[in-house]
Symmetry: C2
Subunit: 211 residues, 2 copies
């Protein structure tokens, strides 16, 4: 497009699937202007790699063994707020998108986009270093209810999924059974569920709960 070739973009890949990493590295190496300088398959080595190589752009997956990719993102940004991290994940969950962006991701691209779009996203993230919003995904789930679960509600939902009753939830959180019930009711309302069982399903579907 532009005559401005720019220098080679030094990339770091973080993905827990070797097949994906190798494929991606191959793909990116074949594209002029990109150079994969580091790869990591888990949160810990990702952080170590980051500190060692300080790549121009990090391509970061969300589902990682151990620490969450979003947590890795937070730590990288805490380390260096200028870091440019492009989330590259198969998760189409709005929750992941929201959390990534508010944790400081420079962009969010799902693996369901064409390679060209990915390349463009990487260049975009690299060039406008300061800009934050740079999304490569068409449009997340349209089933928008808008309601976000509060911190407490997410805690309760995580107990719900384990099959605890309201009374047990109350004991575990040090609150009364009545309060736990109020939280459950709020969860049902926000997730549009008619029963706690459905709320758990909704939680998984929306990416609030993870396997």
């Amino acid at each position: 497009m532009s005559g401005k070739a720019g220098r080679t973009i030094r990339l770091m890949l973080v993905d827990d699937h070797p097949v994906m990493r190798a494929g991606l590295a191959n793909l990116l190496s074949g594209e002029p202007g990109f150079s994969v300088v580091a790869q990591a398959s888990d949160a810990l080595s990702a952080l170590a790699c980051w500190r060692e190589h300080k790549p121009d752009v990090v391509l970061l997956d969300i589902s990682l063994p151990g620490l969450d990719g979003i947590e890795v993102l937070r730590q990288i940004k805490a380390d260096e707020p200028q870091a440019r991290v492009l989330m590259l994940t198969s998760s189409e969950a709005k929750e992941d998108y929201r959390q990534s962006m508010s944790a400081g991701a420079a962009g969010y691209v799902t693996k369901s986009v064409d390679p060209d779009v990915l390349f463009a996203a990487i260049r975009g993230v690299f060039e406008r270093q300061g800009v934050a919003e740079q999304t490569g995904l068409g449009c997340l789930d349209g089933d928008e209810s808008g309601e976000t679960l509060s911190q407490r509600e997410q805690e309760v939902l995580n107990l719900l999924r384990q099959g605890f009753s309201n009374g047990e939830i109350g004991k575990l959180l040090g609150i009364s059974r009545r309060t736990a019930r109020a939280h459950v009711s709020a969860i049902l309302r926000k997730l549009g569920a008619s029963a706690r069982t459905e709320a758990v399903t909704r939680g998984f579907e929306k990416g609030i709960l993870k396997i």
Copy 2:
């Protein structure tokens, strides 16, 4: 390894993520003896592609938009029982493995293996055409409870996740509330859950339920 070079293996890739497909195609093309002759991103075009190209080996992902990868596998095998299909998926769920193998997959490799292992698996599948068992995964979840849900129980679990009560499940299945309850009890026992809410979670965790 062997001096027996064999002819080039004609591969077909089925994966819903373009980034994955492109990366994989790149990776495989760089490996001598492999040739990617077709790619598909969904069940329908996968079947059409299969009939048109009749590749030596199909690399098939399970999570596909629309029809399940396992369903695609079933249809391919129905079309031609000799077809060699190697499942290549990120799912570590025993349920997916079990279903794939009983549907006639020539092998099951997760994306968490090294590319070399994948290459070896492809060659293995291609060479011993008749052999069925050829697994590339170390060992699936060891949290083996052994108990498999019956057809009816899976139906009930799918209603459970939607928040239906025992009475509603009974009406939907045309059985009595008491029978629905018996199925739920069996599900709880088999999944090691103490409440239906936990049973749903277990279903997602074990891959019996899908998002």
